[in-house]
């Protein structure tokens, strides 16, 4: 199906079309999601011009893209029905509901992983508790080589430790968050193509809670931990 062009869509949004042309456009909109979304956006610009204009910079534009992708990936992550409801709620309010976050690059082909905190401003506009990335001078059991990396958050008030094993493409996230329900932990591809989410679970005989992720694809992704009353940003 051919889409309407920008001039036609703008003319429709500002009500410049004659009766029959308007009917033609609306018949098209009835079945064309792409054009209907563009019209919706144009009407929104028309009705909220000052608000959208005032907050418009290249930075805010890029941040909107990142948030939209993040929400989309989270809302589509595999999850049980119970978890799905909670996850969708988290996705809908993701910019206010991330307690800690880490930017990760994993290259399984070279068994390399790196962690950073840069580029997360779109999530919070403020600092998360500082992760300190350090190489771990030992192998995770079963990793069979490679250099695992860990990232720590200082224990104020809770500690969190994330360990990546690039050989096994595995991540372990540990924390001493005591609340129930425990925070969700998510790995989300930067490009929005996938997300894995799991809640922390208790470990018998241990004071900490744990989440594991297996078979993490190579590439850029984010590790996010849900903000809860006992796990504040």
């Amino acid at each position: 199906m051919d889409h309407l062009n920008s001039d036609q869509l703008r003319a429709y949004a500002v009500d410049e079309l004659d009766h029959d042309t308007c009917l033609d456009v609306e018949i098209h909109l009835a079945t064309c999601q792409h054009c209907a979304e563009r019209v919706k956006a144009l009407l929104s610009v028309r009705g909220n011009f000052d608000q959208i204009w005032e907050t418009w910079t290249v930075t805010t534009h890029a941040e909107e893209f990142q948030v939209a992708r993040l929400r989309y990936a989270l809302s589509r992550a595999p999850a049980s029905p119970d978890l799905r409801e909670r996850l969708a709620q988290w996705a809908a309010h993701i910019t206010e509901s991330v307690g800690t976050a880490l930017s990760v690059f994993l290259d399984a082909s070279t068994h390399a992983v790196s962690v950073a905190q840069e580029g997360l401003e779109f999530l919070h506009g403020m600092s998360f508790p500082r992760f300190e990335p350090v190489p771990v001078p030992f192998s995770i059991a079963g990793s069979g080589g490679g250099q695992p990396w860990a990232a720590f958050v200082a224990p104020t008030p809770q500690w969190t430790k994330v360990t990546f094993d690039p050989t096994q493409r595995r991540a372990l996230v540990q924390s001493d968050v005591p609340t129930v329900p425990r925070p969700l932990v998510a790995l989300v591809a930067r490009d929005g193509s996938w997300a894995h989410v799991a809640p922390f679970r208790a470990v018998e005989g241990e004071a900490f809670v744990l989440t594991e992720f297996e078979e993490i694809p190579s590439g850029d992704f984010l590790l996010l931990i849900e903000k809860t009353p006992d796990n504040p940003a």
């Binding site: 009500d15 018949i27 054009c35 979304e37 893209f65 992708r69 409801e85």
Partner: protein
Amino acid sequence: MERRFLAESEELALVEAAIAGDPEAWGILYNAFLLPVRGFIAGRIGVTEDAEDLAQECFIRARRSLDQGLFDRQYRLYTLLRNVALHVVQDYWRHRARADSRLSEQSHRIRSLAAETRSFHEPLERLELLRLVFVCGAKPHQILMFGFVKLLQWRPREIVKERAESSLMSLTDEFLESYYAPLEHYMSQRTFHSTFCAPLLAVMDSPAVEVYGEREYDDRGMSSELAVGSLALKVFFGGDPAANISDWCDRVRTCTRKLIAATNIETHGQSRPRQRGN
């Protein structure tokens, strides 16, 4: 494809017959306008199952208006249907807002499911705004300086100091590259240039006299062979250059606002009534 709509006289006759109780006449009107009504709604809430339900609601309400003698015959029936559709859409958003508010205090179920089924949408408002700016009718140097000051957050004095000698073409390249860099994960460079920047790029090859007009052309002593892209930014300065740049940014805003006929009141697409003969 040539599409045939009901002629005014035919439509009016069907409306009169429907008011007189002819179900077949109402059926013809329903079939003629169902798709446009659905399209009107889809342009306000998206192509969803809700749009289909709301379209049905429109016809129920419109039929009630006819039965109650509220239809003004100086307007087309579709004007009535659009106005009804607008109210139906406003009710829909009010209901959604109330449901969201209620659910935030109780269960999050419906809102969560709504969020769950939402597909990835690019932040379309600013993309549409970007398109509008490039065709808003302001001059190329004004659009460029708007881009640097408003979107890239340069200070006018910084531009005067560092870019006065630059050609408009090199400034265009610099602006587009700077705007695209943070978006490169989300769209291809080709899409970005062809979809959003084509009008600005196209004008750079045009003869300056065509774009700026004879008077400005003479005032600024441009040579007839010059293309817009080869002009230096400083050619356009007069008096206080930093103040010039601020004025140009204001002009871009004014032109864009006018182009989209900004109301700044969320109307969900209020349209003007169409009288017969329009």
